[in-house]
């Protein structure tokens, strides 16, 4: 992608908000959670590839349908999911989103994001999980761990972020490759600790993949 295209897109997204590795997968030795590392059926420059891409287009208008209430109830009591698909930041920066806020504590929140802006605006070789691996390699992310999502070994996933943010916010973001150029992010903010947050985020990712497979 040409930089000319990226900058306006980012600017637009940020304005909306202001109102208020491509080599070694770099599996971390110490850790937040430690499920088995992702098996990599195929990889390109160290980035695992998706053998059977999933189409998420039918969920772009309501990503809340990707996770059912029964799945969420295992992690606590949550309000109905709040979709954000039309806002400027959802369209240009973050992607179609659904957030389920905790009933007792609004700071405990499960989120699902379909990262279409990155698919649209990133340079082709950086789309999908490749962008996350590249960020780890360049140092803009200091934590990246490949994980295998339960029952879905064909869909590569990583836990990635900055340790400070993960520890301060007791949060964890899982990036799941559903196509070579598209990821879905699942996360828990305000967990008991980062470990719990990562366990929940991975289980939510499994639920998302279950739903997508049924729909495809």
């Amino acid at each position: 992608m040409a930089p000319k295209k990226l900058v306006p897109a980012l600017l637009t997204g940020l304005l909306g908000l202001s109102i208020a590795a491509c080599s070694d997968p770099s599996v971390e030795k110490d850790a937040i959670p430690t499920p088995a590392p992702s098996s990599e059926p195929g990889s390109s420059n160290g980035v695992p590839q998706v053998s059977r891409p999933l189409d998420a287009s039918s969920f772009l208008e309501d990503p809340c349908k990707l996770v059912d209430n029964q799945t969420l109830s295992a992690f606590g009591e949550f309000e109905e999911g709040e979709p954000d698909v039309d806002s400027n930041h959802a369209q240009k920066l973050i992607g179609p989103t659904c957030v389920w806020y905790g009933k007792q504590d609004v700071g405990r929140a499960v989120s699902v994001i379909i990262d279409t802006p990155h698919q649209k605006y990133a340079q082709p070789h950086l789309r999908g999980l490749a962008g996350v691996y590249a960020s780890k390699e360049s140092g803009s992310l200091d934590y990246l761990q490949a994980v295998e999502i339960d029952s879905h070994p064909g869909y590569p996933a990583v836990i990635a972020g900055n340790r400070k943010d993960m520890e301060e916010g007791n949060r964890c973001v899982v990036y799941v490759g559903i196509a070579d150029d598209l990821t879905i992010k699942t996360s828990l903010d305000g967990g008991r600790d980062p470990e719990e947050a990562c366990q929940v985020a991975q289980k939510v990712a499994a639920a998302v993949l279950d739903t997508l497979k049924q729909a495809n």
Partner: protein
């Protein structure tokens, strides 16, 4: 406020996946993340200030109510003594 903080975190996450190899974009993304972090800190600081201010008002209201209650009690006594 928590929802706003979450939105800012999501924006930072959105910029965490590398978009481009050119230096101009790298610097732009770095600066954007810096600005978002600054915005998050500012919001948290403003929230703490508002909470403290709210507590002060609440304490002042309680004190005023206690004074009024004491004064009312005193007047009752005076009234009774006159009767």
């Amino acid at each position: 406020m928590k929802q706003r903080e979450l939105l800012i975190r999501k924006a930072i996450d959105a910029l965490s996946g590398k978009f481009s190899d050119d230096d101009y974009s790298k610097v732009y993304v770095r600066d954007a993340i810096y600005s978002l972090n600054a915005l998050k800190e500012l919001n948290m600081s403003a929230s703490e200030y508002a909470q403290r201010y709210s507590q002060k008002i609440s304490s002042a209201m309680d004190l005023k109510m206690a004074d009024d209650t004491d004064a009312g009690t005193w007047f009752d006594k005076v009234g009774n003594s006159v009767d």
